[in-house]
Amino acid sequence: MIELAGVSKTFASRSGAVRALDDVSLTVERGQIYGVIGRSGAGKSTLIRTVNMLEAPDSGTITVDGVDMTSLGEEELRVARQRIGMVFQHFNLLNSRTVRGNVEFALEVYGVAKAERARRSAEILELVGLTEKADARIAELSGGQKQRVGIARALAGNPSVLLSDEATSALDPDTTEEILGLLRSLRDELGLTILLITHEMDVVKSLCDAAALMRDGRVVEHGLLTDLVMRPESELSDGLFPLGELPEGRDTTVIEITFVGLASQEPVITRLARTHELDVSLLGAAIETLGGKQTGRTRLELPGSPAAITAAVEDLRAQGLSVRVVREAS
C-alpha cells in the first residue's frame, strides 16, 4: 500500500548538511497499522512527510496505492493527496471555522457541492464522535476533541491511507488511549492503512501491527511486532518488554525466552528443571498483547555448569523458541 524504496533526503543547514533520510526502504501492507519510532531528530517526520510529498525526497521512489508519488505533477499530486489523510501533533486546525467548518474546508477543496458537504461532514463527525460539537469553535475544544477534528478532516476525502505525525504526543495518557482506540476502529471499519510516527513505545505496543526503528535517518530495524519479538537481539522488542536492569553481583547466566501464546510458557520452565536438572529462578516476566496475540517474555536465571546451560539453550531453540542469552557466567 505504501512503499518507500531507497529514499534519501538531505537538508542544508547553517551547521552543515543534515542527512535526515538515508536510503530508507519500508513497506506498509494494506490495512496495516505501522509505527515508526525513534529519538528526536531521527528523521521520523521527514519520513512521513515524503509519503504525501510535503517533503520531496532527493532520491528514491514512494508508491502509495500503486501511484508513484515522485513522478506526479502539481495537479496530479493534489488529487493524490486527497486519498492520503494526515493528522498532526499540534492539530493544525482553522481557528476561523467551527468544527464542522474544518471538515467542510476539506470538502470545499475537493469541490463537493454545498448540500453534499453538509451531509458528508455530519457523517464524518458522527464517525469520530463529535456530532454534539459540530458548531463549537476550535478554541472551545479539549486536546482530544481537537485531534478528533483533525482526524475528521483527514477522513473527508475518503482516504485509503492515514498519516499521523505524533498525533497523541500533545495529549494526556487517557486521551491518548481514546484517540488510539479511534484510529484502531477506523482501520477496522474503513480498512484504512495507517502509518504513524511516535516516540512512545506504548503507542506501538497498543496499536501497531508492524514497526520500524529509526536512528540518524536510517531504518535500523523493522518488521511485524510478532516477528520482532522473536528476534532475540531486537532493540524494538526490548522496548516492548521492559524487564528492567539485570541483577548485579551474581555470577550466573541469564536468559530471556519469548513466547507467543502463554500456554507454552509453563512447560518450558518445567522442562528446564526436569530434563536439564537446572534450578531455574524467574527474574522477571512481561506479557503484552502484540498484533492481537498474547506475547510474553520471561527472564530466567540459570545456575549450573556452562555445558549444561548450553545444552539447555540449544534444546529450547530446537523447539522453536526465541532464546537470548543476556549474560553468561564467567
Binding site: R81, L93, S96, G101, F105, E108, V109, R137, E140, G157
Partner: protein, 239 residues
C-alpha cells in the same frame, strides 16, 4: 472674523459641519475600499513571493519571484517613508492626470489611497506571517490549491489581525483626510481651516474636533468588536 452672535451663525455652522462630515466620510470610505482591496493584494504578494513562500517562483522563475518581492518591498517602504503632506503635494500632477483636477473632494482620494495602501500592505504582511506554517501545511496535505491556501487559510486565519490593521489604517486616513483640507480637498479639515483658522472662529474648531473624535472612536469600536467576534469572543457565527 465671523459674528458669532448672528442668529444665523449656529444653523450655518451645523449645515457646514454636516456637509463637511459627509465629504470626509465619503473620502475615507472610498479610500478605505481601495486600500482594503489593493493593500490586501500587495500584502499577500509580499508574503507569498518571499523566500520559502508558495509563490517564490511564479511561472517557474525564481528570479521573477525575487524581483517582484524586491520591487514591492521598495514601493511599500517608499510609500511609508514619505511624509503625507509631501506625498500629497508631489502627487498633484498625477492626481490631476487621473481625476482631471488636483483640488476636490474626490481628487483628494488619490493621495489618501496612495499613502494608505503601503501602510496597510505592511500591516497585512505582518498579520499573514503570524499564521502558523502548520495550517498551510495541513491545507497542502489536503490537496488545496495555492489560491485556496490564500483564500481559505491564510486570509481567514489572519482575520482578526487584518480587521484591527484595517481599523488602524482607517484612523490614519481620517487624520490624513483632514490634512488634504489644506490643499482644498474639502471635508472637515477644510472647514477647520477656512472658518476656524482663517476667520478665527473657535466654535468651528471645537465642533470639528469633536466630530473627528466621534468618527475615530466609532471606527475603532467597530473594528475591535468585529475582531473580537472573529476571535470567538462573541457568539459563534451561525452559517
Amino acid at each position: 472674523m465671523i459674528d458669532e452672535t448672528d442668529p444665523e451663525f449656529w444653523p450655518t455652522l451645523w449645515a457646514n459641519v454636516g456637509e463637511a462630515t459627509l465629504e470626509t466620510l465619503y473620502q475615507v470610505s472610498v479610500t478605505m475600499l481601495l486600500t482594503a482591496l489593493i493593500g490586501l493584494a500587495v500584502g499577500v504578494l509580499l508574503v507569498v513571493t518571499d523566500r520559502g513562500g508558495m509563490l517564490e517562483a511564479p511561472f517557474g522563475s525564481r528570479a521573477f519571484g525575487r524581483g517582484l518581492n524586491w520591487v514591492l518591498q521598495v514601493v511599500v517602504n517608499l510609500g511609508r517613508s514619505i511624509p503625507f503632506i509631501i506625498l500629497m503635494i508631489a502627487l498633484i500632477p498625477f492626481t490631476r492626470w487621473i481625476v482631471g483636477t488636483a483640488f476636490s473632494v474626490t481628487a483628494a482620494i488619490v493621495p489618501l489611497a496612495i499613502a494608505a495602501i503601503p501602510f496597510f500592505a505592511r500591516i497585512v504582511e505582518i498579520a499573514l506571517r503570524e499564521v502558523p506554517a502548520g495550517l498551510m501545511e495541513a491545507g497542502s496535505s489536503i490537496g488545496a490549491t495555492k489560491w485556496q491556501l490564500v483564500s481559505k487559510v491564510l486570509i481567514p486565519e489572519a482575520g482578526p489581525a487584518l480587521v484591527l490593521g484595517l481599523t488602524t489604517t482607517a484612523v490614519s486616513v481620517v487624520n490624513f483626510s483632514a490634512i488634504v483640507g489644506v490643499i482644498g480637498g474639502g471635508g472637515l479639515g477644510d472647514l477647520a481651516i477656512r472658518y476656524g483658522h482663517q476667520r478665527y472662529s473657535t466654535p468651528y474648531i471645537i465642533v470639528v474636533v469633536v466630530v473627528l473624535v466621534v468618527i475615530v472612536t466609532l471606527i475603532q469600536a467597530a473594528g475591535n468588536r468585529m475582531a473580537m467576534r472573529m476571535r470567538g469572543g462573541g457568539p459563534a457565527r451561525t452559517r
